[in-house]
Symmetry: C2
Amino acid sequence: MIRINQELLTFFSKLSGSSAGSSVMEKRFATGNNIINQGKHVTSVFIIKNGIVKCIVNEENGRDFIQEFFSQDEILGELEIFNNTISFCNVEAITEVEAYHINKKDFYALLENHRELNILLLRALANKVRDTAIRASQQQSHPIAYNLQKLLVFSADQARLFSKQDLANYLGITLRSLNRAISELNGVPKES
Amino acid sequence: MIRINQELLTFFSKLSGSSAGSSVMEKRFATGNNIINQGKHVTSVFIIKNGIVKCIVNEENGRDFIQEFFSQDEILGELEIFNNTISFCNVEAITEVEAYHINKKDFYALLENHRELNILLLRALANKVRDTAIRASQQQSHPIAYNLQKLLVFSADQARLFSKQDLANYLGITLRSLNRAISELNGVPKES
DNA sequence: CGCGTAATTGAAAAGTATCAACACTGGTGG
DNA sequence: CCACCAGTGTTGATACTTTTCAATTACGCG
C-alpha cells in the first residue's frame, strides 16, 4: 500500500551532497500540512526523505478518495511538471515529512545533464501506472471484505497513523461500511 | 476515454522512414487477437498506428476489468519493459490494428541515442498515471449513472465498436446494472 | 433454418449508503 | 476538579443500489 522507491532517493541525496546539488533544496512539513494543492499549479518536484503523505482527490460531490499513501523515496509533482497541468489531488503530510524539492527549470536541467535520471524516472512512472492500474482493477472487481483484508495486511505496522476515515477513503467506501466489514472480519457472522 | 498520443507516433514514423529505423518493425493484428498477454513476459514495445485495443485485466475471481481503450499513437508494453515484469493485463485488438514494434534491446538503444524520446516517454507515462488515477477516483466516488453518462459521451462516435459487456467491464459493473442504468437514462423513472 | 453469441428483462438476494444516536478521548476554561 | 466541547470512533435501523440467477428475445452467419 505504501509506495517506496529507493533508487530515486539515493540519486538525489548523492546529488544534494555534491557540487551540482545547489538546485536541490530541503523542506519540512508538519502533520496535516499540504505539500501539493489540488487545482493549483506545481512549481517544483518533491522527493520524500522520510515521513508519510496521502494523495487525496476531492471530488466535486464532496467525496474524498485517497489515491495512495506515499512514503520515503517517492517523487511527487512530476506528473504536473511533465505535462504542465494543475494538480488533480492534494498531497497532505500524515506524519512530519522531510523532502527534497527542485524547481521546474532545475529539474529539467538535471534531466539534461544526468542521463541516468531519465531511466530512473521512466521506471518510477511505469511503476506508478502499474500500481494504480492494478489497484483500480482489484477494487472494482472485489467485494469490500477482500480489499479490506489486503489493506489491513499492508497497514498493520502503521495502523495508528491512519484514521478510520482515511482507510474508508482509500477503499472508496463509507465509514459505516468499513466498520461493519471490520467487525465481520473479527468473527461476527454477518447477520442476515 | 480513448487515449491518443500524437507525439510518439510522429517520432516513430519518422524514425521508421530513416536509416536508423531498421529496429522499427511493423505488425498487424486481426480483431479479437491479443497483442499482449496477461501473465506473460513482454519482449517488445508497440506503438499503435491505427485501430483500437482494449487493455483488460482478468481477475482471479473471474471478473474482467477494462483498464482503458487505446487508440492511434499510444504505446503499449513499455511498463513491462521498464520494470522487467510480466504483464498485468491482456491487450486485445477491438478493430484491426496496425502497430510498430521494437524489441527491448533496440528500444533501450533508441533511448540512448535519441534524447528527445526520453522526454516524450516521460510525458506519455505521466499522462497515463494521471488519467488512470483520475478515472479510478471518479468511478469510486460517483454512482453508476454519472459514470455511464461520461462514458457514453466519449464512446458515442464509435458506439458500435463496443459491446455492452465491454462497457460494463469498463465501468466495473455487471451487464444487468448497465442495462438498467441505460434505460433509466432514457426516461424510465426508476420504479421503486 | 438452426446454432451460438449478444442483449434484454424480472424477481429475489446480497451488499452498501444514509441517517441518527451514542461512547470515548484529549484539551480548554471556569 | 469538573463541565464542556470537538474530533474520532461505534452501532443500529432503514432505504437504496447492485448482483445473482434465470428466462427470453434479437441478431449474424454458415
